[in-house]
């Protein structure tokens, strides 16, 4: 498969989730987060290195995709559509989904056999700042931002700085997250060519928002990001934040970021609504149905999708007693379905995700087995759960629970997880054939039986 254009980040949620969805639609699995197979043994041995070196290797992995600030004006973001079109097999689909990233969305689209076209992308731009200096990070972003926006009129920029979870990366690069305001030629051609009239466009709309500083017409600056720390902690500080900064030997004990003056769709996950108008315009012309899938938080869809898979397995008379917890970009619908596993996606690896899994387990029939694919990001960040939080979850299985490749003692530094999850999934002995995709009618049938899910609504737009 071709790799994405050089200016987008391979390690980002949108790119990784596109690749995972596309791999499944090609009938393939998705090992080592889409990295070349020969790198697997190398990555699997990453843990023999001391923590400092591992951190460096992680940064270098990300840094290989950096664009130098002076070259940002040359980026034509729409080019990414050509790569995405090539990722997905060339055939006609029952539905096409467009919009927000969500790992639960990966499994939903896999079930429906529909490709997903991301609204948001990450462009890593080279920039050296101290992680705990969000003000300077903002200032330094202005010039490349102006170049980028001028060259890309259909996009808006959310310059994001997260000194908590992305502490390692933000030393070498800054996160330019860009959101599509219109479909653009590439997406539109993809949809028209591969979605026959009368079929359905799914709009994935995550309602997550964040307090931001307005920098321009299509440009905001976001200090902080969703994860372990709250918005208030980023903007006002807290005891946890002070401890964290001390632990990393920072000269400050709270962040002094620019004062937020507006609220925007969250840089990584939130849906920018102007895209909806353009989708409806195309739907009118091609007589597509438009179904909005609206979810409060990126992981609000997770319980629904897990229950959908369970319902689907029962309908196929397959035991639905294995839970596979995935996190952030570690998703593999192929092995999930081949092993008859119920996928529950965590947005990251922080305490709120632990709470979400526990809430789901409280709400549903117990599972015999629980497997955990745990993303590793190399920072003892604010809100990082202790090892016991994970072992407690695994202990909730009726028969056994185990990490799928991760060494929990090494969390969150076990970068070998990226190489090992694939082998761990294959080690699950059960094998089932890949089913034909669920139809939208079957999805409706499930939804009418399952009732409402908190934070999720489906809404049809009459074209």
């Amino acid at each position: 498969m071709p790799s994405p254009p050089g200016f987008v980040a391979n390690f980002d949620s949108a790119t990784a989730m596109t690749m995972a969805t596309a791999a499944f639609l090609r009938g393939e699995d998705w090992p080592a987060l889409g990295n070349p197979e020969p790198l697997k043994p190398l990555a699997a041995r990453a843990n023999v290195l001391p923590t400092k070196v591992r951190e460096k290797a992680f940064i270098l992995g990300g840094a290989s995709e950096i664009t130098r600030p002076g070259r940002v004006g040359k980026i034509h973001i729409d080019d990414v559509a050509d790569w995405i079109a090539e990722e997905y097999p060339e055939r006609r689909y029952p539905a096409v989904s467009v919009g927000s990233s969500s790992g639960a969305g990966v499994y939903l689209n896999a079930a429906l056999g529909s490709p997903w076209l991301p609204q948001t992308l990450l462009l890593p731009v080279g920039q050296r700042v101290h992680p705990d200096d969000p003000q300077t990070a903002m200032e330094k972003g202005k010039e490349p931002a102006a170049d980028l926006l001028e060259a890309n009129p259909d996009w808006q920029l959310h310059h994001m700085h997260d000194a908590n979870q992305d502490r390692l990366m933000v030393r070498a690069l800054t996160y330019f997250r860009v959101k599509r305001r219109r479909l653009g030629d590439g997406y539109e051609r993809f949809i028209v060519d591969r979605l026959p009239p009368g079929r359905t466009l799914l709009l994935m709309e995550c309602k997550a928002r964040w307090k931001t500083t307005r920098m321009g017409d299509r440009y905001v600056y976001q200090h902080g990001a969703m994860g372990g720390a709250t918005q208030e902690e980023f903007h006002r500080g807290s005891e946890r934040v002070a401890e964290y900064l001390e632990r990393y030997d920072s000269p400050v004990r709270e962040w002094d970021g620019p004062e937020p003056d507006t609220e925007s769709p969250e840089a990584e996950w939130g849906f920018e609504e102007s895209l909806r108008d353009d989708v409806v315009r195309l739907a009118r012309e091609r007589r597509y149905r438009v179904r909005r899938v609206i979810f409060e938080d990126p992981d609000s869809l997770s319980p629904l999708v897990a229950d959908l898979y369970r319902w689907w397995y029962r309908r196929r008379r397959i035991p639905a007693n294995r839970l596979l917890i995935s996190s952030f970009v570690i998703n593999d619908p192929y092995w999930t379905l081949r092993t008859g596993s119920t996928p529950f996606w965590m947005k990251f690896n922080m305490q709120p995700s632990v709470d979400a899994v526990n809430a789901y387990l409280d709400s549903t029939d117990p599972f015999d087995e629980i497997h955990l694919m745990l993303f590793q990001h190399g920072v003892r960040a604010v809100g990082l759960p202790p090892k016991e939080a994970w072992t407690d979850i695994l202990a909730r299985a009726r028969k056994f629970g185990r990490p799928a490749g991760a060494d929990l003692d090494e969390f969150p530094y076990d970068f070998a997880q990226f190489a090992k999850y694939h082998d761990a999934l294959q080690a699950i002995p059960a094998r089932y054939p890949l089913p034909r995709p669920l139809t939208l009618d079957e999805l409706d049938e499930f939804l009418s039986q399952a009732g409402d899910y908190e934070g999720v609504t489906f809404e049809d737009i009459d074209p």
């Binding site: 026959p196 009239p197 012309e285 091609r286 007589r287």
Partner: protein
Amino acid sequence: MVSRQTTPIGAPSCHWREHDVDGVRVAARTWVTDPPRPEPIVAVHGLVVSSAYMAPLADRLSDHRDVWAPDLPGFGASDKPDHVLDVRELGRALAGWIDAAGLRDVVLLGNSFGCQIVAETTLQRPDLVSRMVLLGPTMQPRLRSVPKQLRRWRKEQKTQSARLKALQVRDYAKAGIPRAITTFRHALHDRIEDKLPLLEQPTLVVRGTDDPIVEQDWVETVVGLLPDAELAVLPGATHAINHEQPAQTARAVGRFLHTR
């Protein structure tokens, strides 16, 4: 709008009219009375030819209805856009032209590739179209390949009159060979069968028994896919029925418009 008279044939006589559609000048042959009659017919030509191809049928239909036969952008007397329009863009252009000409409740009539544009326009703008007439509609999915189409097309050449051949040479020369080839590719790529089930307008599908391009089972499929359609089979008629068998075709169309 500019008006320019050509040789008058029958009543009403044929006039050229021009409209601006998003910066592109679109010319049309028109057979229109004053005041205009309701539910005008818009006749859409096939691959690369022009409205001249529609004239013999239009002339006969104009006894009872106003008839408008535009040259699609890139063809005949109309402007040539910078790039070769695909079916979707041609549909958009035709809808834009119907708006610009101030027409409403039109009977969209097409021949061959023109039927693909009729279906596309009706898909995009159902509000403009009251009924459809599809004469020898393409593109049969089974024959959707360049060699298959070329073979059929060569057979079809043998059924053409000398006058039609002359007209084609003239119109191909006007459009240019690269435009002809690209438009043909677009036509091959377009899946009319996906659109037909969504087109609720009452529709007449017509096939000539001597049409080598359009097979009987395909037109039956077309009628089956359309929610409200009927089939007329014209004995001895060919593919370019609007040009070669205009009287026979006009009778079938007239019957449909009168009874439905």
